[in-house]
Symmetry: C2
Subunit: 131 residues, 2 copies
DNA sequence: GAGTAAATACGAAGTTTTTAGTTTTTCAAA
DNA sequence: TTTGAAAAACTAAAAACTTCGTATTTACTC
């Protein structure tokens, strides 16, 4: 074995599925499949495979419910968001989250309203820490 | 052909190499290889292959200099950072960059100093827009 | 020009990811 | 109790990624 691979992060398709499970709370293969866009033609068996892999990677657990399995995330979306941001920050922003935000704030497409919201978030957090 | 694949984003190893090229400005296979960590055992030919792929994907161009090729990014690191954030925001934050920042700001590991820096950035940008 | 050391081009092997077909199991209805 | 439909389990193959070996080319030296 060459190196232990990165099982902390989701692949593209895995993330696609987790997003549906996070929205659903929990669901069967069919439930997830039904939520995918119309033009996303994926065989039932493919969806089942992806959920099985997610279970192997321990991103979901499953329980038997009648005929089918019900899959449920073991990790909250917020926790995974934090994990992803940490990873991106490390790999592309020299491990400095601030420069990540800086890049975002400099993005021309960001509206003033969005900027205002961000400032409010920061202010609230700063107040809570010092007050 | 099943689907057009994503050539906008770098794979893990590709990003590893681009980071070195961004730091160097430009460089040969050997230059990049020399910058990788001690414990990163990679054959010269592997490095050459990765740079060749990066050239195919048009993330770098190369020019001949004496015996060797010198590779140079065609895309700035800042531009790629923006692109990555857009992608992450879309896939994991319901296309709402604000919620990405919110997640970051809520991260306990972020220092007050970092938060202050972020607020300053936002303020500056807001001032420039309205004034 | 021949020798040679370094670099490149090409491509193939090994893995992981993505997709889906086939077989088996399950459960309920006839 | 048999049967039929849906799901699960198993299997596998195509695509993408990572890695590197072999053969060739290049530029320099004698």
């Amino acid at each position: 074995m060459r190196k232990k691979k990165n099982n902390e992060l989701l692949t593209e398709v895995e993330l696609e599925f987790m997003n549906e499970l996070w929205a659903l709370g929990e669901g069967t293969v069919r439930d997830v499949l039904d939520r995918l866009p119309e033009d996303r033609d994926l065989a039932y068996t493919s969806a089942a495979t992806i959920l099985r892999i997610l279970e192997q990677k321990e991103f979901v657990t499953s329980r038997k419910d009648g005929k089918s399995h019900v899959f449920k995330p073991t990790l909250g979306k917020d926790a995974y968001q934090t994990r992803s941001l940490k990873d991106l920050s490390m790999k592309l922003f020299d491990d400095a989250p601030v420069s990540l935000v800086a890049r975002l704030v400099n993005d021309d497409e960001l509206t003033d309203e969005a900027l205002g919201t961000i400032r409010a978030l920061v202010d609230r957090r700063l107040k809570n820490d010092t007050g």
